[in-house]
């Protein structure tokens, strides 16, 4: 009787171990996928953290009002600079070129905000004191809504911006006359 009990214990343990190996294989596959995508699809490149003073954004530095908007870079890419505050993004209508590497750089002037551009993978947290970076490419022209997605107090539900993806050539042509582009009605 002891051997029968031991035998069934071994059977049970073996079945268990087979499951454990299966689990390890599944998890291993997940890890390999994460590693692979981290090497090939970079949205937030590994870089040293950048700090900034949220109270003086409007006075000097990268995020002064006339430096916000989309800049055409010499290497054919674009950089979007924006600020989040209670309760709007500046600029509240952002223009980006299609089929171009675009880098978003942003920060917050007061509390933690964040944004997602609907229909894209752009998802960024904006924290006072830190500069956020995000790299992406928009495939085709169109319009997207861009809500704030982190609770920023009472007016959070009113914080919706818009993004206009325009044709690449149009964007670069316009950049010759406009230093920082946006689609904010003037």
């Amino acid at each position: 009787m002891a051997t029968a009990s031991e035998h069934s214990e071994h059977v049970a343990a073996r079945a268990e171990m087979r499951w454990v190996y299966f689990v390890i294989a599944v998890i291993g596959l997940l890890l390999v996928m994460i590693a692979f995508t981290s090497l090939h699809w970079v949205m937030m490149p590994a870089q040293r953290i950048e700090t900034v003073n949220p109270s003086t954004l409007h006075l000097a530095g990268e995020f002064t009002e006339d430096n916000l908007g989309t800049e055409a870079n010499a290497d054919g890419s674009a950089t979007v600079r924006l600020i989040a505050q209670q309760y709007s993004f500046t600029p509240q209508c952002i223009v980006v070129p299609a089929n171009t590497p675009v880098t978003f750089r942003g920060t917050s002037a007061d509390v933690i905000h964040g944004f997602i551009i609907a229909g894209t993978n752009v998802n960024v947290m904006l924290e006072p004191g830190y500069v956020s970076n995000f790299r992406t490419e928009f495939k085709r022209p169109g319009e997207h809504v861009m809500p704030c997605h982190e609770f920023c107090s009472v007016g959070h539900a009113g914080m919706w911006a818009h993004v206009k993806v325009i044709d690449r050539d149009t964007f670069f042509r316009q950049s010759l006359s406009t230093r920082r582009q946006s689609c904010v009605p003037q």
Binding site: L31, A35, S38, L39, V42, P45, A46, Q47, R48, I49, E50, T51, V52, S55, T56, L57, H58, L59, A60, G61, E62, T64, E65, D66, N67, I83, Q85, Q86, Y87, S88, F89, T90, P91, Q92, R105, A109, D110, V131, V145, S153, V154, G155, A157, G158, M159, W160, A161, V184, P185, Q186
Partner: protein, 261 residues
Amino acid sequence: MKDEALFSRSNRWFVWSVAGVLALLLFGLAIGFVWMPYHNGEAGGSLWDAICRAAGAPGGNSYRDVNATKVISSDVIVIPDMIAADKEAIGRGATLSLRCTMCHGARGMSEAGTPNLAGQDAVAIYKQLRDFQSGQRKSAIMEPQAHGLSDQDMRDLAAYFAYLPRTSPPPVLVEQLKAPLVAQIGAPMRNIAPCISCHGGSDRKTGAPTLDGEPESYILTQLQAFADGHRRNDINGQMRNIARQMTKEEITTAAHYYAGR
């Protein structure tokens, strides 16, 4: 039951669990702190630089722009509770305020269509005085008034007017629920946050003025000025973003509502 030593190389559980965790750690460190930053960084960086980048070490401030930028909105730094409101400041402010009564009324309650200052937000008053003085907010009337004031004078005036009782107390919850749509909800898809989220009663954003009891014509003019861009001393465009999206009806409704409080 013999006692097994737990933290010893002869204990299978100890060895395998520590080895397993270490193996995972090394896998994660190798990929996350070496391979990934090397692969995704600029060519030619050192290993130490790659590790620092992956760790998010400080010192990443990379922005260099030679073009000097001009201050578009306001040169005031606005921080919560920045105006000291002690008795001396209020007293000095009271003395200074005598020159304001011609337009803004005795004890800050105007009858002339100029804004009431009684009980106004201290930071708001200070900031507007600074902006009048610097010219960031254009006003042929206020600029000479603000001209001779020192920074401390402006703080004292702000403390004094804030100390005066308001024309009407902040609305209680039941009253707030009766406010019009634009004040309570705004219009989210046009990025109009509700007025109550900044201008008091529900919540107060630093430097946002109290609108209750202000003259209707004044609120109308200011909203219009923000919408046109003629007034642009709002830091980072926070009011221009809202006003330019408001319809004529929404502007008149908001002005009428707050003037009537």
